[in-house]
Amino acid sequence: MKAGIGVRLFACLIALLFVTPTLIVVATSFTSGTMVVFPPNGLSLRWFEEVFADPEWLDAFANSLQVGLLAAVIAMLAGSSLAFAAGRGRGIPPGLVTALAVLPMMVPLVVAGIGFYLVYVTIGISGGVAGLAVAHAVLGLPFVFVNVLAALKGVDRHVEEAARACGASQTRALVRITVPLIAPAALVGGVLAFVSSWDEVVIALFLNTPEFRTLPVVMWGQVRSGIEPSISAVATLVTAVSLVMAGLILLGPVLRRKLRSLWRQQ
């Protein structure tokens, strides 16, 4: 069925509504003035230069990047394992595994934040990349889990059996056949986990220390003490990273196909 003109107009309007605030923030980051105003007063990159010269921002960037990457990796490993348990496991009811794996989506962030804070303080691992990455991995895990479980359901059991008949042990069949088949889904889940960690502020606030802050935490602190266009510049950069990630997800399959056809031509 084709969408009518009215529906299309409405969709455009909604999309505009979603995108406009971001566009305005991005626009303000290019101002040459000292105030966050729209439209910006003159054009310059001075606030980006300022951000890149400020060790506090740079540290926060590095922290966020490390936490995000580590969280994505942990989420991919744990989420894929849980998806296997739900899709292929015997013993534990799949429904139970699924419920547990998507639970982090349901728990309010504040509650999770307090929980991690209390536990980390007790065992003394507060305020570091690893601690926050684990917490963020839990948040990102459902993305991986749902994606991989769907991919796993699409993997024909006979394909695994064919590998076994070809002489592959259960482990080799898993490594050579099943894992490559679900890897793209796990990667997409990992990118989503990274993005969700990248702009997560609630848990990061609970687990921050003066020495260890992620980007959203520093932004939050800055906003509270008065807004400078450098915030807009950081916001623009954060958005850019997220967009690049989204682009990877969208373009990934296309790129892979291109690479394949290149390989075949040589």
Binding site: D156, H158, A162, A165, G167, A168
Partner: protein, 378 residues
């Protein structure tokens, strides 16, 4: 029929070219799930190099039996013996089998060549030797040019050929096929039937094929094992099963049959079925120990004629009324409701016009020798 021991041209890389396929013996295989039995005590002897089809309706246990031979399912009791060696406890990947699945089950992320090379890699064939073997296998299924394609870029028939190449490239002792042609259309299926048969004979493979398609079983097999409700009903050559079915199930499963069932009585020195209408002579051969006997007659052996006032002398006959007359290409299929209420089928040559019309009172006759007597299932 070609004997299978001829040295296959494909056998150049074989470790032991003198013994291509293995012999298989199934000893009283039983498989129970909770309280239902999928396979109930099947014993089967398959000679090396033979093409055996496990034939049966769905739920007959044929697939379970194949999966037990493959090693995907462990039998509750019984043994699988390959070349005299009990492999019941050997895991799948050490059984050295080749397997073809109904839905091809190719590795979607690997090229055709990589798919076919996979068993060689798993069985540690030296890397340098692989490309030649892969090419040989692909050429055997007429896909020599397709090595670099991805499975999804091939048609169903081509994919199944790749699956076949993958199954035979490692020179398996046993080739198992689980409804290999079920997903193909009719013409392709018939072409593949002949091709699989040719390949298996050329390579001297022992093949166990599973199907519910009686035509496929008759065309491809050296032996057919007909299964029903988890039991082996009859095991023999296609001709055995077709012309000398040992039970009602077999007669019904292989081709069309008209069946008459009743107790035997002697009339004018002839053994006939005790039926209220007509006369059905019981051909010799059936055991008389049961209370009832079934006489099966193939539709093509039945003659149809207008009903007369007198019963025909000698031979079998059955009066009835034509209820349908269908043109079926190579024959007219005429359905007659017999006086006994049974629905009977007659096949007539389609070159001539149909001998009757719907509503005609007719009389069906056939030679005594055309019938087969079967002990009735109790």
């Amino acid at each position: 029929m070609i004997e299978t021991k001829a040295l296959p041209k494909f056998a150049t890389g074989r470790v032991d070219a003198s013994a291509p396929g293995a012999s298989v013996r199934l000893e009283h295989i039983v498989k129970r799930y909770a309280d239902t039995a999928a396979v109930e005590g099947v014993s089967l002897d398959i000679a090396a190099g033979q093409f055996v089809t496990l034939l049966g309706a769905s739920g007959s246990g044929k697939t379970t039996l194949l999966r037990i031979i493959a090693g995907f399912v462990e039998a509750t009791s019984g043994r699988v013996v390959l070349d005299g060696e009990d492999i019941s406890r050997v895991p799948v990947h050490h059984r050295h089998i080749g397997m073809v699945f109904q839905n091809y089950a190719l590795f979607p992320h690997m090229s055709v060549a990589k798919n076919v090379a996979f068993p060689l890699e798993m069985r540690k064939v030296p890397r340098r030797a692989r490309p030649a073997l892969v090419q040989e296998a692909l050429e055997a299924v007429h896909l020599g040019e397709f090595g670099r394609r991805l499975p999804r870029e091939l048609s169903g028939g081509q994919q199944q050929r790749v699956a076949l190449a993958r199954a035979i490239v490692g020179k398996p002792r046993l080739l198992l096929m689980d409804e290999p042609l079920g997903a193909l259309d009719r013409r392709l299926r018939e072409a593949m039937q002949l091709e699989i048969r040719r390949l298996s004979h050329e390579l001297g493979l022992t093949v166990v094929n599973v199907t519910h398609d009686q035509e496929e079983a008759l065309t491809m097999s050296d032996r057919i094992a007909l299964l029903a409700e988890g039991r082996l009903v009859q095991y023999g050559t296609p001709a055995d099963l077709y012309t000398r079915p040992n039970s009602e199930i077999v007669a019904k499963f292989l081709g069309e049959s008209n069946m008459f069932r009743g107790p035997v009585r002697v009339e004018d020195g002839l053994r006939v079925l005790d039926l209220p209408h007509g006369r059905v002579v019981v051909p010799p051969g059936a055991s008389d120990d049961g209370p009832e006997v079934i006489v099966a007659v193939r539709p093509s052996a039945v003659r149809i004629g207008p009903a007369g006032p007198d019963a025909p002398a000698g031979g079998s006959f059955m009066p009835g009324e034509v209820t349908a007359c269908v043109y079926a290409g190579d024959s007219h299929k005429i359905i007659v409701t017999a006086a006994t209420g049974a629905e009977l089928i007659v096949r007539c040559d389609s070159a001539a016009p149909p001998p009757c019309e719907v509503g005609d009172k007719v009389i069906l006759t056939w030679q005594e020798a055309a019938g087969v007597a079967i002990p009735a299932d109790r």
